[in-house]
Structures are given as C-alpha cells and as structure tokens.
C-alpha cells in the first residue's frame, strides 16, 4: 500500500520503512514551538520531568506574540518567566519584541522550517508550515514540554483527504477564500484527525502566502495537518529563507485517501464565514446588508506582505467609513518594514486606518481591538467563535484582506470588485 505525503514524512521520522493509517508511532521532531500563553504551562511541566536541559537548543522556538507587547502585568509576568527559561536553557530561537512576529509568519521567514520537517507547536495554527511541504501540527503545553525534553512525540498516523485544485482563481479570490470555501463544504470537523493534502495544477496560481493561509486553517476543519505538494515556488521560498537541508516527499501513486475533492478555483467567489463557526460560509454575492464597526487585517492567516499589498490596492485613495475602526497588523518586523518601504503605510494612514506593531492581539480577543457588546467585525483572522474577539455578544466575520479592506470603506461587508 502506498503512502501519502504525511505518512512518508512520519515514517522517515519514526525510523520506519512504512507506516499505515491508525498506527501509533513515536517520531523525532525537527522543531518544537511555543508562545506566551502555552509556554508557561509547558515550562512548569518540563520542570516536573527533571531533565535539566532541553534536547537541542537550536530546535526549540519560543515566540511571545499573543499578548505582546505585554498588555498587562499578568501577561508581562508570563513572558518574563519564559524569557528567563529560554536564557537558562540557552534556547537560541527566543524572539523578543522588536524581533518577533506572529509565530506562524515568523518561523518560515526565519528559515526555521523547511520541506520534510516534523514540527509540533503548542499553538493550533502550527499546521501553517504544511505550505512548505512539512508535517506540522498543533499540540498542547504538556506535549511541548515532553518534546523539549526528549526531542520526540507520539502520533497516530492519520488518514488523508486529497484536494485536487484546478483552474485559475479570479483576481479577488485568494488562498483565504479557497480555504473558507473548503471548510464551508466539509464542515468544522470535516477533516477530523485527518491530513488535508493539497495538489493539482491549480497550485501554479497560488503564491506561498496563499498556501500559508490555506494550510493555516486546516485546523478549522479539524485536520491534524494540511500539506502542499512541493514545487518550484516552495523551493524558491526555501532557498531565499533557509540554509537548512530539506527533503521532498511525494505521495505514492497508490496512496490511499478516504476522500478526494476536485475544486475548480476558477468558479470560486470571495467568501465570508458568518458567526459563529468558520463553516458558516457565504459567497460575497449572498452576504446581504451587514453593517460593521471594525476591520482587522492581520494574524497568522493573513498578515503577510501580499495580504497588505492587496489591502492597500483596495484602500488606495479611499477613506475608511466614519463608523469603522480599521486596524492593520503586519505579522512580522520584516513584513512591517517591507510594507513601510513599499509605501503601503502612507496608503493605510491616509485612508484613516491604524497600523499596529506585530501581535496576535485582537484575533483571540487579547488586546489591540476588542469588540464591545453588539459590535461586528470583518477580520482576516481564522476563528469567529462566540466571544473570540471580545464580548460574547459581538460578531466576527472571516474574510480575505481584499474583502476586509472593501468592507472598511463601505461600512458594511462589501466586495472589492
């Protein structure tokens, strides 16, 4: 029986010839990640093990990004604790405010993840690195602690769903619209425990930033991981960002998939997920008249340079609606500088938008744009659960940066067309 991309990566990291779905295996990890919310719990658990040192000071990344720059005393104490832990352990990849970014934008940019890697992170959106042809998945703090000590973790080998992407998407259809469309189709548990493997000639039309957005939201369909076939674009990205050796894993011809979906990208429309689940999707043509109070453009899903460029294209020469706060959050320092140098900030600020330093901030209702009771936001983030961005009776509509920017101008959910 053939293996999927994911199964091949897992087999190699388990030191096995082959694996099959359902098998429980122990694998070596190439990178262990944590943030300022999950790492404090991991440090406490790590100390209980009594290992004294981490398995490899180069293979752990700690990124305080959720409540940073720290929003209050308690969150400052949490970062202080993990900063001291990182220093004591000699962890090389601790990213302080001023160098940090939203973790899943930062790690690829810093070249810390490449094709063929196994990465676990105490953050559910760790699945983002599947865009690079890596196996990466979210775990909890205790799993992070154990892996920091041993360099290993356990997995149940997942079954897979194959998504064959075909055709060229329209100008305003981005990776975000594609993944929202898919989640709308299969549901928030449509890929539960499974891999989502993306392939097909449609990949030719998807930039790395599109692919990061798609892989990022695999968790929103319940998936263990999302992974893209490696192509020229992946290799160019890796060459530009990393010196780490990489390995390309291709699915076998006879790999088994529990389901195969063919998706014609040319037929997709800009897509919006209504409250309070990412599966509640509607095409932009069916959204109706939804007045909004806030727009957030940023996050590990859509805070990359292409996202900011398209937002700027829509906002150029226009004004944010007087009833709307438009908050733009470049995901990393590098993206921030690039956006500044490209003149995007002039466009944003002239339009009446606020530009923030990198942070996860409002995405999880942390800070930098919390919603009051009854308020509605269009956000390029990844979750629209009850209370996600603030008050339990506020609402989040998930959309692409183009739709978010157009909505900021219109004061209601609007098409960029």
């Amino acid at each position: 029986m053939g293996m999927t991309m994911t199964q091949k990566i897992l087999a190699e990291h388990a030191g096995l010839e082959s694996v099959k779905a359902g098998q429980l295996i122990k694998v070596k990890v190439d990178m262990v990640l944590g943030n300022d919310i999950t790492t404090p719990v991991a440090v406490k658990e790590f100390e209980k093990i009594g290992a004294g040192k981490v398995f490899d000071v180069n293979k752990i990344a700690i990124v305080p990004d959720h409540f940073t720059p720290n929003k209050d005393i308690k969150s400052a104490e949490q970062v202080k604790m993990i900063r001291e832990f990182s220093k004591k352990m000699g962890i090389v990849n601790f990213f302080e405010v001023g160098q940090m970014g939203v973790e899943h934008a930062l790690l690829p940019e810093k070249g810390l993840v490449v094709a063929g890697d196994v990465v676990i992170g105490a953050d559910s959106h760790t699945c983002t690195y599947g865009a690079l042809g890596a196996f990466s998945t979210g775990v909890g703090s205790t799993d992070m602690a154990a892996a920091m000590a041993t360099g290993e973790t356990w997995f149940k080998v997942p079954e897979a769903i194959k998504f064959v992407l075909e055709g060229k998407p329209g100008k305003w259809v981005s990776g975000k619209d594609i993944i929202l469309h898919i989640i709308g189709k299969i549901g928030v548990d449509g890929a539960l425990y499974k891999s989502m493997e993306f392939t097909g000639e449609g990949l030719n039309y998807l930039s790395m930033d599109d692919r990061f957005a798609i892989a990022n939201m695999a968790i929103e369909a319940g998936a263990k991981n999302g992974i893209f076939e490696v192509d020229e674009k992946t290799l160019d990205y890796i060459a530009e960002h990393s010196n780490k050796p990489y390995k390309i894993f291709k699915a076998d011809e006879d790999a088994e998939y529990v389901e195969v979906y063919k998706i014609d990208l040319s037929t997709l429309r800009p897509t919006v997920a209504f409250p309070h689940l990412p599966e509640n999707t509607r095409s932009i043509d069916e959204v109706g008249d939804i007045k909004i109070h806030q727009v957030v453009i940023g996050s590990c899903t859509n805070g990359r340079i292409e996202d900011l460029r398209i937002a700027a294209e829509v906002l150029k020469g226009k004004k944010v609606h007087p009833d709307v706060r438009c908050i733009i959050i470049p995901a990393t320092q590098k993206i921030w500088k690039q956006a500044m140098n490209e003149g995007l900030f002039d466009i944003f600020i002239d339009a009446g938008a606020a530009v923030s330093t990198p942070t996860c901030g409002p995405c999880l209702g942390g800070h930098m744009g919390i919603l009051a009771e009854g308020e509605r936001a269009v956000a390029t983030t990844n979750r629209n659960f009850v209370g996600r961005m603030g008050h339990p009776r506020s609402e989040v509509y998930l959309a692409s940066p183009a739709v978010a920017a157009a909505s900021a101008i219109a004061g209601k959910i609007a098409s960029p067309e």
Binding site: G138, A146, D189
Partner: protein, 167 residues
C-alpha cells in the same frame, strides 16, 4: 477506575474559546481558570457544577485553540469526565496528558440528557445511565494510550522512561 456524577449537557462544536475565553489566559492557575470555565456559553456553569459532574456533548468537543487551559479549567471545576460524540484532536491529547478522563461514545453522547446520573468505567469503556436504565459501550483506548493514562499522564510516562535510561 470509574466515576459517577450528574450530567451537564452541551451541543456540537464546543470550542476552547468558550471553555475558557482567551481574556483569562494571562494566568495558568487552575483555580483561577475554573472561575471562568464555560463562561461565554453558559454563565451558570460555575455555579451549578459539582465535584464529580460529567460533561456530555456532541461532535468535535474542544475544537479550536490548543490551549491546555481548557481541559485544566474543566478538571479544576470538578468535572470528572467528558463524554462526547467526537473530540477535536488537540483537546483529546491534552486531556489524556493532564489526566482529565474523556470517553468518545456517539451512542451515549446522543442518548444521555442534562441532569442524568451516569457511571463510567474507564477500564472497560462501559457507561451506565442510572436515570434512564441504559448502558452504552465505548471503544477502549489503544494500549499505548492506556499505558500513558495508567502512568499518570505524559509527564510521568516520560519521567519513567528517563529513569529507565531512555532519555
């Protein structure tokens, strides 16, 4: 091991943001987290939950964020077990790792109602609904997970391995 308790029932796709909202994640103190458990879904949960109570829910329980604070908050609230149709995978791992017993059993999740008195035996996967007089059977955990659970969670398991010279 077995537990007995009164059921608090919820629906499908109970996400970790409602189990413990992110605005309270500037601490990892279990007692502090328990004060806000389920707050955005059911404000009354913290008042009505009694030690030993069992949470029963539908599909995809614990979806969303990887925050281990979610099973920690439930455990610290006194919840003795969660029964669901299915669990989101990170929540599933986290619960086993921190020692919050969970049972995946679609039949039980569907049939059990709020307020029912339920007994769960983890060794055999047997669930008895004393209110309705029904019995349900869940699939037992695979051997490796049983070993993890009987070691007292992942950290104890890793410690045991370390003592065996495997680390």
């Amino acid at each position: 091991m077995n537990v007995r308790g009164k059921v608090i029932k919820y629906g499908d796709n109970i996400d970790t943001d409602v189990i413990i909202p992110a605005r309270y994640l500037n601490t990892s103190d279990p007692a502090e987290l328990a004060k806000h458990c389920m707050e955005d879904l059911d404000k009354d949960f913290v008042n009505k939950v009694q030690p030993g109570d069992i949470v029963v829910a539908g599909k995809n329980f614990g979806c969303g964020s990887s925050r281990e604070h979610a099973p920690i908050a439930l455990k610290a609230s006194g919840v003795s077990c969660v029964i669901a149709d299915t669990f989101a995978r990170i929540f599933y791992r986290n619960s086993i790792n921190i020692g919050l017993p969970i049972v995946e059993c679609p039949e039980a999740a569907n049939d059990i109602e709020d307020g029912d008195e339920v007994w769960v035996d983890f060794d055999t996967g047997t669930i008895v609904n004393h209110t309705k007089g029904s019995t349900y059977k869940a699939a037992p955990f695979p051997d490796f997970l049983q070993e993890l659970i009987s070691s007292g969670g992942l950290i104890e398991y890793v410690k045991k391995q370390a003592q065996g010279g495997a680390l």
